[in-house]
């Protein structure tokens, strides 16, 4: 059983949380002319890292607020917990953010063009 440190409520049992999958995926804005391939990529392709992974979590049975986490998918260790709309500060988190293929994809570019931040 994992003990997850909710930034708002403190350490709680993992059963209270739901995992929202990969973090920092920018949604292409609807008015952007975007190809089927780029939108399919946004909708379906997910980073599936073995090792340090950046993901979103929600304290579903508690405060119901979202937060981001840097977690190791092999050891299940939570390396860092950080707020939504911010980037990881830990060394492992920064490296994982930089290494992600998604930062330069068409769907990302379409979102970034409108000045939207992930």
């Amino acid at each position: 059983m994992l003990l997850i440190d909710c930034p708002y409520c403190g350490p709680r049992n993992e059963e209270e949380f739901s995992c929202g999958g990969e973090a920092h995926i920018a949604r292409p804005l609807a008015e952007n002319p975007i190809s089927d391939a780029a939108f399919g990529e946004y909708l379906f392709l997910r980073d599936n890292t073995k090792g340090v992974f950046l993901e979103r979590w929600r304290h579903a049975s508690g405060c119901r607020r979202w937060f981001n986490a840097v977690r190791d998918t092999v050891s299940h260790e939570f390396i860092e917990i950080y707020p939504m709309n911010s980037k990881p500060k830990s060394k492992a988190g920064k490296a994982a953010f930089a290494a992600n293929w998604r930062r330069t994809t068409d769907a990302e570019a379409a979102a970034q063009k409108k000045g939207r931040k992930s």
């Binding site: 059983m1 994992l2 993992e14 059963e15 739901s18 995992c19 999958g21 089927d36 391939a37 399919g40 990529e41 909708l43 379906f44 392709l45 997910r46 980073d47 599936n48 890292t49 073995k50 992974f53 993901e55 977690r71 998918t73 092999v74 050891s75 299940h76 293929w101």
Partner: protein
Amino acid sequence: MADSDLDRGMNSLGNSKKRYSAFSLARNAMSYHQNWQQAWRHAEPKSEYDVIIVGGGGHGLATAYYLASVHGLTNIAVIEKGWLGGGNTGRNTTIIRSNYLWDESAAIYEHAMKLWEGLSQDLNFNIMFSQRGVLTIAHSEHELKEMSRRVHAIRLNGIDSEVLNPAEIKKFIPTINIDQTIRYPVMGGFLQKRGGTARHDAVAWGYARAADDLGVDIIQNCEVTGFRRRGSKLVGVETTKGFIKAKKVGCVTAGHSSVMAEMAGIHLPLASRPLQALVSEPIKPILDTVIMSNAVHMYISQSDKGEMVMGAGVDKYNSYAQRGSWPVPQHMIAAAVELFPFLSRLRMLRHWGGIVDTCPDASPIISKTDIDGLYFNCGWGTGGFKATPGSGHVFADLIANDRPNKIATPYALKRFETGFLIDEHGAAGVAH
């Protein structure tokens, strides 16, 4: 699908192997079973192969076997980083059925079912295929109606399926609790009589022995660490035993498919999750079928040794840890006790997890890639075991002919761009 489409690659055994039979069992008993022939060679990699299959589980070994027996290719290697059948092939709950809702799913799972029926003979290896029936239970009026609709769709595809009422279920499974006052009352169910179980290790061993007999090199303890390519053409794989040239490479690596794809610069729409299972201490025969329940979320059968074999859904977060989180088996056992109260007094013997590659539409990917000569067969998620022969059969066809056949076509990676998904979420039961 017509039976004539089914090239089973029969009569393949006998090049270098002695046949297994009741007579050979008796003969070997005379020498205290000391002189059995080795089932497959411990091959070392050659410098070049026509086809390399990455992943020595059921699907990979089946692919190699059908490449050799149906398509006549013999310069093939299966590369496995651990031991043969040590991944999800040896970790599943061995359930086989083909009662899927959509036509595309019915085609591939029924293709597999027809190969299962007769696989022991094809491979000359007793895979202990037992068509003991798979019963999926409904716990609400709505679920029962949805089930009836599904049964009609399944029957339209020529696959056996029938709806049972609670009295018929009680007759079929005397140990079940059909009291209508419990939290999840049994309101009905649907049964596929041709469904059942097979001995999962024997499936890997049977395919390995038959493939080896046809000259396939099975290389264990050899991990693929990268792909080498020239332009958009694949030239071989880097492994812990050195570089091996290959004209074609098929990846059948289940939970590690994303890791393999990343090595080739390809991104797949997969999430790797633990799927857990557990077995109880062995007891006398009490359950001679497979029971599944979507609402309480578990499935149960009894192995030939007498252990109650149980499983449920995947864990809720990505993991490569092959163990999984504790709340999942807790819920699974609570659900099992609800249906079979006698289970509460059983002790659990073993509990484990395997890493499954789940797809957004809960259907597999059997596809070419943008790299010439690189193919993927993955995304089977929680239900790959039942498809093993069919998956290997169509994947071998894809690799040999470099184009998908009718069954494999809908399973191309392209569907995540076109939107032609094969949405089996909820339609397929718990163990997809």
